[in-house]
């Protein structure tokens, strides 16, 4: 562990290391929390692990931190195999979901804690702590205690504390889940800004897909202990690899279709297929609401059920003559033109979509 602590700017130059998790396995009783998870994080990258409760994302993070043992597999940081290294020697900074600030210490003392353990001298320690508190915008709260701070402030202090030791890797375990919605949005932007400034390789665990898409360089969607897809947010959204990813990230319509020769016939139109789709026969096509156009048509094949004006956009729910319910997202000005009972035609955009066998 290095006691040479330059300013925050230098952290980026010296600290960007790569992380590689290889074939991690972890079983609790009969539950397979991790099922052969393999994942690489590039130096300076922020990877978000996204998934429902019980998918193993937190377990993966804790194995990386050393707080959980893996039953099998390897953990490498900066090319070094640290699978057998205890937590307190791994040089990682961690921000927990809640309650992690030491209650008997002031904010400043909390931030200085890691430095104190490393034997950093008083003056340097104070300077570094001040710098960290300025980075998260809490230098005025330096002498307050945890219970005197709001949830958002506490998490910022936790972040400052984790970064004070200039760790090789930054780990964030659902840091925003316990906060109010508005604070969440503000704080996630700040976390991303700070992470980019400091340049630390970061693993961010969350169950909130908007969060993951908003701040990550790449997002890994997990299910039942393994990755379903690991890709940049745009890729994940537009070209989901599996139905689970398409369902979990953003809203999706599942529409009946028939598939042949690389195209799907749905809603009276034909769209190309994404790789990984079912190739023939009856299938369900997964189409995003914003990929559907709605036009008034007295000869149309669907009836409007409801329409909502949501400020910056509009939503129309319609029922096809075939009995399917379709959600379309349209221009906020146009949505006022649709009322329940109107006959409409719904047309998919010619973008590629994912099809799964209708079983």
């Amino acid at each position: 562990m290095s006691t040479h602590l330059a300013s925050v700017r230098d952290d980026a130059a010296t600290k960007g290391v790569g992380v590689r998790l290889t074939d991690l396995r972890r079983t609790y009783g009969t539950v397979r929390a991790l099922d052969g998870l393999t994942l690489s994080i590039e130096p300076g990258e922020l990877v978000a692990l996204l998934g429902p409760s019980g998918c193993g994302k937190t377990t993966a993070l804790r194995v990386l931190a050393g707080l959980e043992d893996a039953d099998g597999g390897r953990v490498e940081v900066g090319g070094r195999d640290i699978t057998a290294v205890p937590t307190n020697k791994r040089d990682m900074g961690m921000v927990f979901q809640a309650y992690s600030l030491f209650p008997h210490m002031t904010t400043r003392q909390n931030v200085e804690f890691g430095l104190q353990l490393r034997g950093v001298a008083g003056a340097r320690r104070r300077a570094r702590a001040t710098e960290m508190l300025e980075l998260v915008g809490l230098e005025t709260q330096a002498d307050r205690y945890a219970h005197q701070l709001s949830g958002g402030q506490q998490q910022r202090v936790a972040l400052a504390r984790a970064l004070a030791i200039a760790p090789q890797v930054l780990l964030l375990d659902e840091p925003l889940s316990a906060l109010d919605a508005k604070v969440r949005v503000q704080l996630r932007e700040e976390i991303r800004r700070i992470q980019l400034e400091v340049g630390t390789t970061t693993l961010f665990v969350t169950h909130d897909q908007e969060e993951a898409l908003a701040i990550a360089d790449r997002v890994g969607v997990m299910r039942s202990g393994n990755l379903e897809q690991l890709a940049a947010p745009r890729e994940l959204y537009a070209r989901p690899a599996t139905a689970f990813v398409a369902d979990f990230v953003g809203l999706t319509n599942r529409l009946a279709a028939t598939v042949e020769s690389g195209r799907a016939h749905v809603l009276g139109a034909s769209v190309p297929l994404l790789p990984g789709s079912a190739q023939s026969g009856a299938a369900s096509v997964l189409i995003r609401p914003e990929a559907l156009a709605v036009t008034e048509d007295s000869n149309g094949t669907a009836t409007v059920v409801s329409s909502s004006f949501l400020g910056s956009l509009g939503r129309v729910t319609a029922r096809t003559d075939g009995g399917e319910t379709v959600l379309a997202q349209i221009d906020n000005a146009a949505v006022t033109g649709f009322s329940p009972g109107d006959r409409v035609t719904i047309t998919p955009r010619p973008d590629a979509a994912l099809a799964v066998s209708a079983d």
Binding site: S53, G54, G66, D69, A84, P86, T87
Partner: protein, 275 residues
């Protein structure tokens, strides 16, 4: 390789040693009590003491003071709990609803007996009980008045925790707006919702009453502990047997109660662990 597992194993080892040693210390007198009460006159084991204890007619004949003491304590336990509940539940609810400023005062008074131990209280109670005897006679049952004071701190804490867990104000207001009398509010709305707290307060009170010796002895009245003490001078075996029986029953009740209260909390703990 398995670092967390090693730590867990070390903790388990520590746990077993500490609990083992302390458990032995706890168990020794308990074992001794059983051993003592099962001694046969010429060596060897005998269940005579225990069979005598359960032979109610024999107890009545040979150890009348035990019978009086037991009956007195049983009555005291019931009466103390009733008075305590009648006194505390309405008062505490009322304070929450109408006089929140009084809460600190009530709390202070209820916790005062912690600072005024029984031995001190009994000194001051002597003249008060002279009046009680004047009006109500010399029966031991009137010790209940003093006992309610002794249980105040424990009962208050238990009931306070229970009342804090429910929204007393909203419940009472809702009931009143539907036309309920204050009695109905207490009996049908508040009380059922603080069941566990009431049970706990009642149990703590019973435990205290059954174990109380100081006030009963120094005010020259009968109760279980006084009886056991008197009996001990005559027949150590029986008195030890009674003590052990009382202990066992109290333990079983407390153990059973730990399932009642914690059920809800436990399910929440288990659910939060899956993520």
């Amino acid at each position: 390789m398995r670092l967390q597992a090693t730590r867990r194993r070390r903790q388990a080892w520590f746990r077993r040693v500490v609990v083992g040693v302390v458990g032995l210390f706890f168990a020794l007198p308990l074992v001794a009590m059983v051993e003592f009460t099962t001694r046969a006159p010429g060596g060897g084991r005998s269940l005579d003491t225990w069979t005598t204890l359960f032979d109610l007619s024999a107890v009545d004949r040979d150890y009348p003071e035990l019978k009086t003491g037991l009956i007195a304590s049983a009555g005291l336990a019931v009466l103390t709990v009733v008075i305590m509940l009648v006194l505390l539940v309405p008062t505490m609810t009322w304070v929450r609803l109408r006089l929140p400023g009084m809460r600190r005062t009530i709390e202070f008074i209820c916790l005062l007996p912690l600072t005024i131990p029984a031995i001190v209280l009994v000194v001051g109670l002597a003249p008060v009980y002279a009046w009680v005897t004047y009006f109500l006679g010399e029966s031991s049952i009137w010790l209940c008045f003093a006992y309610v004071v002794l249980v105040l701190p424990y009962a208050y804490r238990a009931l306070d925790a229970g009342l804090s867990a429910i929204d007393v104000k909203t419940l009472a207001e809702a009931a009143r707006s539907l036309g309920a009398s204050w009695f109905t509010v207490m009996w049908k709305v508040i009380l059922p919702n603080i069941r566990t707290a009431v049970l706990l307060a009642a149990f703590l009170s019973v435990a205290l009453v059954l174990g109380e010796f100081t006030i009963a002895s120094l005010l020259n009245r009968d109760n279980l502990q006084v009886a056991i003490n008197l009996l001990g001078k005559r027949n150590a075996s029986i008195s030890i047997a009674v003590s052990f029986a009382a202990l066992l029953i109290a333990f079983l009740v407390l153990f059973a109660m730990s399932f009642v209260g914690n059920g809800r909390r436990l399910r929440r703990v288990r659910r939060s662990k899956e993520s």
